[in-house]
């Protein structure tokens, strides 16, 4: 299993262990698995107006990055080129932890996400995707006559 970032810290490590344990005892995961520990790492959050997805994808050419939204399913795909030398080159690889190769991650968006209002920005290796929620789904205050 590929782990992108690992905290070298007791408390953080125990927190992770606890989450892993919870997942292990969950007998009915979603059909796409638990969806963690892939590349790029994802953080997902929501505000009343929009769903925010942060994909931690350092070192990726924006031109090769493909973000796709179809029937409420968001796909982030691309390729990260290896920086390691060819095997016949006169160089030794001492540590090889970084991900290389093709990647594809998918996630389902909530029903009220508006596929027409998606915005994606790549900055410092973090891809931020903002999907607006439909106006009809936003909380409204109803005036009392």
């Amino acid at each position: 299993m590929y782990r992108t970032f690992f905290p070298r810290d007791m408390l953080a490590e125990m927190d992770r262990l606890q989450r892993d344990m919870q997942q292990a005892f969950d007998l009915a995961p979603t059909i796409r698995g638990y969806g963690s520990n892939g590349f790029p790492a994802l953080n997902v959050g929501a505000t009343p107006q929009a769903v925010e997805i942060y994909a931690f994808a350092p070192g990726i050419d924006p031109a090769t990055l493909e973000v796709h939204l179809e029937r409420g399913l968001l796909t982030i795909a691309g390729e990260r080129k290896s920086v390691l030398p060819e095997t016949d080159a006169k160089a030794a690889v001492h540590i090889n932890e970084r991900f290389d190769g093709q990647f594809r991650r998918m996630l389902t968006l909530p029903d009220d996400a508006d596929p027409e209002a998606v915005d994606a920005k790549l900055r410092d290796g973090v891809l931020r995707i903002t999907v607006r929620r439909r106006a009809s789904a936003q909380p409204r205050r109803i005036a009392v006559q």
Binding site: L11, P40, N43, V44, T47, G59
Partner: protein
Amino acid sequence: MSKDIQTRSPDALQSVDPKQGTPSYGNAALTPPVDVVEDAGGITLYADLPGVSREKLNLHVEAETLTIEAESSLTVPDGLKTSHTEVGLGRFRRVFTLSKELDTEKVSAELVQGVLKLRIPKAEHAKPRRIDVSLA
């Protein structure tokens, strides 16, 4: 603020007691994955530091220790509620012990799209030489 979970809004941070807020780990930092390649001229290190801008990157060489410290400068909208977190901290830290033949005076670094590339050349006297074997 830097110590706390990245996808939290500043408002949420203030309401969390640093001693009781569960995701606060003091000076805890994530260990960024690295690639280290050595060739005849020196060592090249690549480190994944997503969300880190040049101002928030701190490289330190002291004696034979190389320290990489970085903070992510990710901005999140107000009132964001996190539902799924894989990168739970906004700090990165990793320490390496260098060896004598490396020339720490000539370290060069560049940060492009969240990837740090560090080149540490070998000192002139330590570069490989071919030793001729003379026939006796």
